[in-house]
Amino acid sequence: MAQTEVKTLAITGNGAVSLAMKQVDPDVVAAYPITPQTDVVQNFSQYVANGDVKAEFVTVESEHSAMSACIGSAGAGARTMTATSSAGYALMVEVCFVAASMRLPIIMTTVNRALSGPINIHCDHSDSMLGRDSGWLQIYNEDGQEAYDATVMSFPIAEHKDVRLPLMNMYDGFIISGAIGPLKPLSAEQVQQFIGQAPDYPKLLDAKNPVTMGPFDGLHGWYFEQKIAQNIAMENALDVIQDTYDRFYELTGRRYEHLMKYRMDDAEIVVVVANSAAGTARAVVDKLRNEGIKAGLIKLRTFRPFPVKLYAEALADVKVVGVMDRADSFGAPGGPLYMEVLTSLYQEGQCAKAVNFIYGLGGRDVFPQNIEDVYRRLDAIAKGEDAPRERIYVNAKGM
């Protein structure tokens, strides 16, 4: 099952994703080459220059154009990838809706970084959360290995006939993107075998089977029904994603699930968190468990589609859940992840107390002590302290 000894590379998160792109060698990569773009694209351009890949590499004048070029490319049936980050993604979002509604399985890396202002280039999840309603599948990754694996796994998911949606993979800007960590890569042959040939779906420029994509729909057209179809595809994706994870496990021995549970058996207080902070939280859980505190952790991977039932199941016997958001939704009841978790509990008729913690905005550090404080608060609530409805800000100045 697990592959024979693979040499561990010391490589940045961005380097890991570029390597996966090289091994995938898509037909087209269209990307904006200037900041806030990351070196995912810079590395890939070197592969192009060195002749390591056959991909058509298109550099464009904005992220808006990058996604537009991706739509044209994927619409023509080409396997298409891009990457973005921060404000670049924000500029892209208008066209991201178009990509999803045209059901184009474009694969994009979005390195999670803040949106201005004040001007800030550091890690938080404001960028990808901005596009959470754009109709893209969204997968969040803890480290470079996960981001690499997710990039490879993206194709069978997005291109599946029951899904056919664009997919974006996230990981934390700088904390993971710029940090050198271990990577056990697959061989290029293994990657090619895993992703297989892109399926032959209806495409533009096929004169024998002409189709129209993204036309003017008018007031009496099928816009509404198209949106319903997108939601059905999202629902279908839940099984397709897990099946792909399972197949990847057979190949690599690395296990992935929509939500990754850590020490959840008998857990009474639980944190839900995405990306790199989950790693820091695991160490905190171990410490608290040694003290006899029944702490557990859920690491979010799949955000779109949101696996409502799985959250309800995982939290069924939990007393208090703390949901940690690295993005806020101003004026909303809480951060984006908090609202999803709360809704999941409500839809399944469960009443665990849920508290929202906002952390790490604009790259504010999150130390083990900060996460320990979150658990201590949950513990106090489990023992009878009132659960606040307001957000609790973690490691904010003056709080």
Partner: protein, 190 residues
């Protein structure tokens, strides 16, 4: 070093190669079958501006992604930094501090109170100038780290450097770096 977790903080100026050296130490850890993490303190990078980078090395998988608060190894690639930056901030008890300077630890201690740390010095810039022909203190610093911490042997560092440098640099440059590492390994003073 007997502890399982080694946390290294690098103080340097942009352009001195601290991030490259942090990566080299991470790759050496791979060779030992150890777990590692190396990351710069993030921000706009400008040549000459003070920068900080971190390396974690552990026998166990590393899952903490926060900056290092209590380093047990502190490396200062530019001695002028100690005048403006508290390089021993948060240093753990008996942390090893290695400064790139031609001065001895005693001479440094006359002007700076570093508290309860093991202060060492190595003339990494001088060694680099004499061996590589340029003021690139990062590779000799790796030699000094190997000696001071016992994490890696001299030949281990040289073998790794030979392998990774041979692809990019001329034999002269490679040999200069190997010599720089050897000298720093042998000349680090406590």
């Amino acid at each position: 070093m007997t502890s399982q977790l080694t946390e290294v903080r690098w103080h340097a100026r942009g352009g001195q190669g601290a991030v490259t050296a942090a990566k080299m130490v991470a790759e050496l850890a791979v060779g030992r079958g150890k777990h590692f993490q190396a990351f710069p303190e993030y921000g706009p990078e400008r040549s000459g501006a003070p920068i900080v980078a971190f390396t974690r090395i552990s026998d166990e998988p590393i899952q903490t992604y926060s900056p290092i608060e209590s380093p047990n190894v502190i490396l200062v690639l530019d001695p002028t930094l100690i005048a403006s930056i508290d390089v021993v901030e948060g240093a753990s008890e008996q942390a090893v501090v290695i400064i790139n300077t031609e001065q001895t630890p005693e001479e440094i201690k006359k002007d700076h109170d570093f508290g309860n740390v093991r202060l060492m010095t190595v003339a990494a810039s001088k060694i680099a100038n004499e061996t590589i022909g340029r003021n690139l203190p990062n590779t000799p610093m790796v030699g000094a780290v190997a000696k001071a911490t016992g994490l890696f042997g001299l030949e281990e560092v040289q073998d790794h450097m030979r392998q990774s440098f041979s692809k990019k640099f001329s034999e002269k440059v490679v040999n200069g770096n190997l010599e720089a590492v050897r000298r720093a390994f042998e000349e680090v003073k406590e």
